[in-house]
Amino acid sequence: MKAFTKKEEQILLAIYHLGSEAYLISIREKIKKYTGKYYSVGTIYAPLNRLHVYGYLTASVEKPDASSGGKPIKYYRLTKKGYAALEALKKLNELMWEGFKAPVFED
């Protein structure tokens, strides 16, 4: 499995949590909610697009309705490969964090 950057990991997790509501803007909002960090559209787009191309995500275009102001929206969902990647990430993280306990500093 290819190593993911932090941003890619965040995007994958955001999409997982958003379920069927994951599109560029909502992903951005979600990440902001988790990390408090504000990303521009372009900085989200580049990794998102790459994940899509490598097959971790599928995209579907929703027909415009009134709420989106008549614009078509591209929704992303995790693919099987995407879930597998998250699974592996989780395992990796757990493995690395296992037994972690910060020592108590007396000061």
Partner: protein
């Protein structure tokens, strides 16, 4: 949130449209519009405006990255496709790359050469204000003559009387002088003679001594570093003496750096001009032409035309020209190397060779285009598929031009490698020291990269445009039979072969003319005629030397003369005879010769007699004319008639048959011989054809006996011609020979590739033809027929052009060889047979193939 398009900030969204990735443009644009709309409603127009600009700026890197990422991916794909194509069509690629790199090699070679020739004399600080003075004589007969030879008093007069001229110096170089220091002595140094201010106006760098005072002493000399090393080794040469021609001792007063190879003045040492008149240093005051050159340094920004008029009028006051009108002209030093005052010069051969090099490159480009379009058929499916999955025409054009650029870069690398290996050969051919180092200068390197890219673009543009127009639907359904009948391809082959045939014919013409020049009857027998240069002391011992030599059984006769009959340029106008019209101005070429001159040269005396020791008066008052002179004087029986030459009264004692005393560019002109058995530095020996090397050895030894510690090298007459007279023809002959071979080679490479392609295209047809009974001959004939037609057509185009080129080349010769139609026909046939040989390999291969295999090939 619905938002009206009109409310969006126009500039910001225009910019967005530029940077958003194409494939997701709609959604991203929609996102931006949404957020902007929300912000506008909640925060107001101003804040929304700030947001969108901030957002665009922060998004830019991401979008750029995404865009470039896709470009890189496509580029990688193109790159792999190119390599795959090179590998898949090995023959085709090798032909393309080999042809183009040969063409490029030639172009770069010629560029280096041209660059070198244009760099002459640029090292002089005063380069823009230096000029050589030459004169033009107009005779009453209407003819005129340009003399670069100058006059003894000219420099002095100009310096003192013409305010625009800062300084003027005389310069002359002498070869074949014997120079000696102690044990070391050589004859091959070029001794320059120049006025003392020579080093003030020309910039030669002094290592020892000072430019101002070096030539002030009459018996002084300035050596180049190389020459100083040769005679003095590691000693300091300053203050030491050199012996000149066993006559004079001269003091070394300076050492300069070696004369740059890009200097039109070439010498190994410079001595004061006055040394010519040693020991009494009396300068002649007369205005007679001599082989010296006069150079002037002008003030800044002087109009040459004005100065020329001034010089003409100044000289008119001093010299009383009786026979001809003389005007003076200036020839800028920077032009001296490339242009000759008589017109023409090196620039002509450079122009010709540059044109030829471009031709060769052009032929290679044609091949490239030709083979690429021919290959189009096999690429058609790729083009169709690319279009189906979304490639636009521009993408395809970019892809194919990119491919051709890549090939041309590979080619450039190969060309430079080829260049490195050919350069020594080329240098030897030209007698130059061209160096590849020039290629590492940024400007030049960029230039060549530019040429390579340009070649690639030119060669690739047609295939690129042609291939990208295919309609995917038709290709993929197999409806397009790509361009087999392309008439452009035929035209390209015809152009290519026309150029090759023109070059073949031109080379043959140059070759034939050179054979003619070297073997035609000059009016005397040039075989077994040996030429030697004599030193002053040998000249004084000429008679005993001659008697000694004549004792040898293989030596027939020997004579001497002032000038060699390969180029006698000096003329005399002071000629008078009974019956000459009072205002008739004439000029005759002349020479001082010794006894036995006509016998040694085997010239035919058709009237009267030759000079003879039986008539002591011959020495003062006897003249022998050639037929042309007799015609000029309009005499029926010239022998015994009065004639005065140089105001010396005498009689014509004989008439010699016309002979060539100049290179064959010039017609035979009137000539008068005078007898001076005690003068003349050239010795001519007629030997028998047996045991030539033994005889030459004897001549060498005899000369050494009379002039100890020196070695004189006898030369054959024809060798003198090739070494000193027809040098540029020799060069032209060799270089154009190489070029022709190259052009034919490249053309054939192209033809070979094309034939291979056509044979491949017609595999099935050939199979069917064989099945229904065609013989191998039929198939070969069928495949060769087209090519034969094209080459024959090329002949028709090439002949008139070649005729014109040949006429242009032969124009300058008064005596020229006959170029009959057979040369054209034979050259054409040669081209045809080379072409057929090339094609027949492919044709035979196709014809031999088993039809069962070829019909099953799909």
């Amino acid at each position: 949130m619905r938002i009206d398009q009109k409310e969006l900030p126009r500039l910001a969204f225009w910019l967005l449209r530029r940077v958003l990735p194409r494939q997701d443009f709609i959604y991203l644009n929609g996102n931006f519009e949404d957020i902007y709309g929300n912000l506008m409603q909640t925060e107001g127009r101003f804040k929304a405006g700030i947001w969108i600009w901030k957002e665009i700026l922060r998004s830019l890197p991401g979008f750029l990255y995404a865009a470039l990422y896709w470009r890189m991916t496509m580029f990688r794909n193109y790159f792999i496709m190119t390599l795959r194509n090179i590998r898949k069509h090995t023959l085709h690629s090798v032909i393309n790359i080999a042809g183009l790199s040969l063409g490029m090699t030639v172009c770069i070679l010629i560029f280096l050469w041209v660059q070198n020739e244009f760099g002459y004399d640029r090292f002089h600080v005063n380069r823009d204000n230096l000029a050589q003075v030459y004169s033009e004589m107009q005779y009453s007969s209407g003819s005129s003559r340009i003399n670069t030879g100058s006059y003894f008093p000219l420099a002095k007069v100009l310096k003192s009387e013409c305010p625009e001229i800062v300084d003027a110096v005389r310069y002359e170089f002498v070869t074949g002088l014997l120079l000696r220091h102690g044990e070391k002595q050589f004859m091959n140094d070029i001794v320059g003679l120049a006025d003392p201010t020579f080093f003030d106006i020309f910039s030669f760098t002094f290592i020892k001594g000072s430019p101002e005072t070096a030539l002030e002493e009459n018996y002084s000399v300035v050596l180049t570093e190389k020459m100083a090393k040769k005679y003095f080794g590691n000693e300091d040469p300053i203050g030491k003496t050199l012996n000149l021609d066993n006559e004079l001792d001269i003091l070394v007063t300076g050492v300069i750096e070696d004369v740059p190879s890009q200097s039109s003045l070439q010498f190994d040492c410079i001595a004061p001009y006055l040394l010519r008149f040693a020991p009494d240093f009396k300068e002649p005051e007369h205005w007679g032409g001599n082989p010296l050159e006069t150079y002037v340094l002008l003030n800044e920004n002087i109009d040459h035309g004005e100065v020329e008029k001034k010089i003409t009028s100044i000289v008119e006051k001093h010299a009383q020209w009786e026979t001809a009108k003389v005007t003076f002209h200036l020839h800028p030093l920077l032009k001296k190397h490339m242009y000759s005052p008589q017109g023409g010069g090196l620039i002509q051969s450079l122009a010709i060779f540059s044109a030829v090099a471009l031709f060769v490159l052009f032929i290679a480009c044609i091949n490239f285009m030709n083979l690429s379009t021919a290959k189009a058929a096999t690429r058609a499916k790729e083009v169709g598929l690319r279009k189906v999955v979304g490639a636009r025409k521009a993408d395809l054009v970019r892809q194919f031009i990119g491919e051709s650029l890549m090939l041309s870069l590979i080619t450039l690398a190969i060309a430079i490698a080829l260049l490195a290996s050919f350069l020594p050969v080329f240098n030897e051919l030209l007698g130059k020291q061209l160096s590849l180092r020039l290629l590492f200068r940024p400007v030049v390197a960029l230039g060549f990269l530019g040429i390579a890219l340009f070649t690639g673009a030119v060669a690739g543009i047609y295939p690129a445009l042609y291939l990208s127009t295919f309609q995917p639907g038709r290709i993929l359904r197999g409806l397009i039979r790509t361009g087999v009948k392309s008439s452009l391809r035929k035209i390209l082959v015809v152009v290519q072969f026309s150029l090759s045939i023109i070059m073949i014919i031109s080379t043959v013409v140059v070759f034939r003319q050179m054979r003619y020049v070297m073997s035609t009857d000059l009016g005397f027998d040039r075989e077994n005629l040996v030429v030697l240069q004599m030193s002053q002391s040998t000249q004084r011992q000429f008679e005993p030397l001659r008697n000694d030599l004549l004792n040898h059984p293989q030596v027939v006769s020997m004579t001497r003369s002032l000038q060699g009959p390969w180029h006698i340029g000096s003329t005399v106008s002071a000629v008078d005879w009974d019956g000459k019209l009072p205002d008739e101005s004439v000029s005759m070429h002349w020479d001082y010769v010794g006894y036995d001159y006509f016998e040694t040269f085997d010239m035919e005396i058709i009237d009267g007699r030759a000079f003879s020791q039986e008539y002591p008066t011959d020495q003062k008052e006897a003249y022998i004319m050639n037929e042309e002179a007799v015609k000029l004087m309009d005499m029926d029986s010239p022998v015994g008639m009065r004639l005065s030459v140089f105001r010396n009264e005498g009689k014509i004692i004989g008439v010699v048959k016309n002979f060539n005393f100049q290179p064959l560019y010039h017609p035979i002109k009137p000539f008068v011989f005078m007898l001076r058995p005690e003068s003349g530095s050239l010795a001519f020996v007629r030997i028998r054809s047996e045991n030539i090397s033994g005889t030459l050895e004897h001549i060498r030894n005899t000369f050494t006996k009379f002039e100890p510690d020196s070695v004189r090298d006898p030369m054959f007459f024809n060798d003198v011609l090739t070494r000193y007279i027809y040098t540029s023809e020799q060069q032209t002959e060799k270089i154009s020979g190489y070029f022709t071979i190259l052009a034919i080679l490249i053309s054939c490479l192209g033809l070979f590739g094309l034939a291979a392609f056509i044979a491949e295209r017609r595999t099935k047809e050939i199979g069917i033809r064989k099945v229904v009974g065609a013989s191998m001959n039929d198939v070969v004939f069928m495949l060769s027929k087209d090519f034969t037609k094209w080459v024959l057509l090329s002949n028709v185009i090439a002949w008139p052009v070649a005729y014109f080129v040949a006429q242009k080349f032969l124009e300058k010769y008064a005596f020229r060889t006959n170029i009959g139609p057979e040369i054209y026909v034979l050259s054409g046939l040669a081209a045809l047979s080379i072409a057929l040989l090339t094609v027949s390999y492919q044709a035979l291969k196709a014809a031999r193939a088993n039809p069962a295999d070829s019909l099953r090939y799909e």
